[in-house]
């Protein structure tokens, strides 16, 4: 049998199925994610994510730099929750040095984290509308996000990759305008939140595209290692802020949002309702920032004792874990990041198989993937 006949046989055997490549450059994959999708007609038979297009070996780069220097790199992983990534690394280093951070720092960190969460969720909400073919949500989402970005620019110095956390506290004290601007933002944002429901949540066409699509049960969500809104959409209680409170979240009054259906719509509702909870947390702390230092006193050169240190935070997408092995020198011996997006992506095949190709886009939108966090 020659080569041509072999190909002919292969074509005949798979006449009904065909394979299409979505990405690496495709607007609905939100980055350089490459999906190999096997289709029969319009029905998805198999989804295979191909990773590595934006791998920058951040873990290895971290091992080559000192404990003070490596933190800025982690804001390039999940850039939409850059503050939480930096916080997780700072916390791991603080744990190693057995450093107590001041009360004021804790409150500033909470406020900044919740503002980052709001910024991330508003962007996700806008991009979700765009993925499903609605253009207006994108502008509505970005309008509110812009106000948060301005607050960050004033206090942290940058809009996206803020590098505001340093081991022992935060880089600067908050800007004198900070409280005033957050108050203005809260007034505007609470006025705008019902618009989110009018435009998408209440829309019947939107609901029909989301309800019953991309179902995943609680057991499957746990076994795939999902975390954050993806797992909470299936009814798995996994909020790190509630279960393992860090940096002053012990005192915060908020509810963990749980939905039970496990489809796209419940993942959507978890995020929308989380925005209300974040507003609640910010309102709680904005007028109660304690006086004091914003940074604990540290040495110029940080050294961690021999051992292993682990810290975890709840980013906008789920649980981020930072694992440091120290050999007692200035630089970490090994660093490992447990990123939420990688585990969430692994559930994509389970959710999309058997559905239609149009639903695949909706599922990817509600997974809220940030590709640089998957590849690192």
């Amino acid at each position: 049998m020659n080569a041509n006949e072999e190909i002919q046989d292969l074509v005949e055997a798979h006449e009904e199925d065909f394979v299409i490549n979505i990405g690496p450059q495709h607007p609905s994959t939100h980055g350089v994610l490459h999906l190999k999708v096997k289709l029969q007609g319009e029905t998805v038979l198999d989804v295979q994510p191909h990773l590595g297009y934006i791998h920058r070996s951040i873990e290895k780069m971290c091992e080559a730099s000192t404990y003070r220097n490596f933190i800025y790199l982690t804001s390039r992983m999940d850039y939409l929750s850059a503050h939480m990534n930096n916080q997780a690394c700072s916390m791991a280093v603080e744990k190693g040095m057995a450093l107590e951070i001041p009360e004021r720092t804790k409150v500033i960190r909470i406020l900044m984290s919740e503002l980052t969460r709001l910024a991330s969720h508003t962007l996700w909400w806008g991009a979700l509308g765009l993925d499903l073919g609605a253009t207006t949500p994108f502008f509505i989402g970005f309008r509110d996000r812009e106000e948060i970005m301005d607050i960050f620019e004033e206090s942290c110095g940058a809009r996206l990759t803020m590098n505001y956390n340093v081991p022992g506290g935060v880089m600067y004290d908050i800007h004198p305008n900070f409280q005033k601007r957050v108050h203005t933002f809260l007034i505007n944002f609470k006025k705008h939140l019902p618009e989110y429901d009018t435009l998408l949540t209440g829309n019947i066409i939107f609901q029909n595209r989301m309800k019953g699509v991309g179902k995943i049960s609680a057991e499957d969500a746990i076994s795939y290692g999902c975390s954050g809104p993806v797992a909470r959409g299936s009814g798995v209680s996994c909020d790190i802020r509630k279960w393992f409170p860090y940096d002053g979240y012990e005192g915060a009054q908020f509810n963990e949002i749980l939905e039970t259906d496990g489809d796209c719509f419940s993942r959507y509702m978890v995020r929308v309702r989380e925005m209300y909870e974040s507003v609640k947390i910010i309102e709680q702390y904005i007028d109660a920032i304690p006086e004091g230092d914003f940074q604990a006193k540290t040495k110029a050169v940080l050294k961690l004792p021999k051992g292993e240190f682990y810290s975890r935070v709840e980013t906008a997408r789920g649980e981020l874990g930072v694992y440091i092995i120290s050999d007692g020198s200035m630089k970490p011996y090994r660093i490992k990041f447990r990123s939420p997006n990688f585990s969430n992506l692994s559930a994509l095949k389970h959710m999309a198989t058997g559905g239609k190709i149009g639903d695949l886009v909706a599922i990817m939108a509600t997974l809220d993937l940030v590709i640089p966090d998957i590849d690192r």
Partner: protein, 160 residues
């Protein structure tokens, strides 16, 4: 028959919910006060930029062409990606006849800078600051390597 009623009902409710959404869109279409978009190149003069904005590293000089950099290399050590390089020289102080370390060239590679602000925090004499200039695009990469100290500049008196 029941299926048909549900089907038509869904279409009607969908149209109604579309109307609600379009009402909101129409509101923003007709109310020009709600527009938050800035026209970028035109609004350069009244653009909001925070005090702590990280544009690029500059070495501040006063009116006598004097800077505050002692050449201690703290910024060079603090920089995570080797953006800053300080070439120092030894000068003989005319008053005390002692050897003194001063900077010859403060080399700054803007193309490698990630604007993390660690050099500014590390500087013990507040010699370097971040400027608010953010329009860095160039056709050639050579101008991105900058020498920050001006020609003939000296160390400010009293800065150790």
């Amino acid at each position: 028959m029941r299926y048909l009623a549900i089907y038509i009902g869904t279409i009607l409710r969908a149209i109604n919910s579309l109307r609600k959404g379009m009402k909101l869109t129409g509101y923003y279409f007709t109310h020009h006060k709600e527009i938050v978009t800035h026209q970028y190149p035109e609004n350069r003069k009244k653009m909001f930029i925070g005090d702590r904005f990280r544009g690029e590293v500059i070495l501040t000089h006063d009116e006598n062409n004097e800077h505050r950099c002692t050449g201690c290399s703290a910024c060079e050590i603090a920089c995570p990606n080797g953006t800053i390089r300080i070439i120092s020289k030894f000068e003989i102080d005319p008053e005390t006849q002692k050897k003194k370390k001063t900077i010859d060239e403060f080399v700054y590679h803007l193309g490698m800078c990630t604007f993390c602000n660690l050099c500014i925090v590390a500087c013990p004499t507040d010699a370097i600051v971040m400027s608010k200039d953010f329009e860095h695009s160039m056709y050639d990469r050579k101008p991105l390597t900058k020498i920050l100290n001006k020609r003939g500049s000296k160390l400010m008196k009293g800065v150790e």
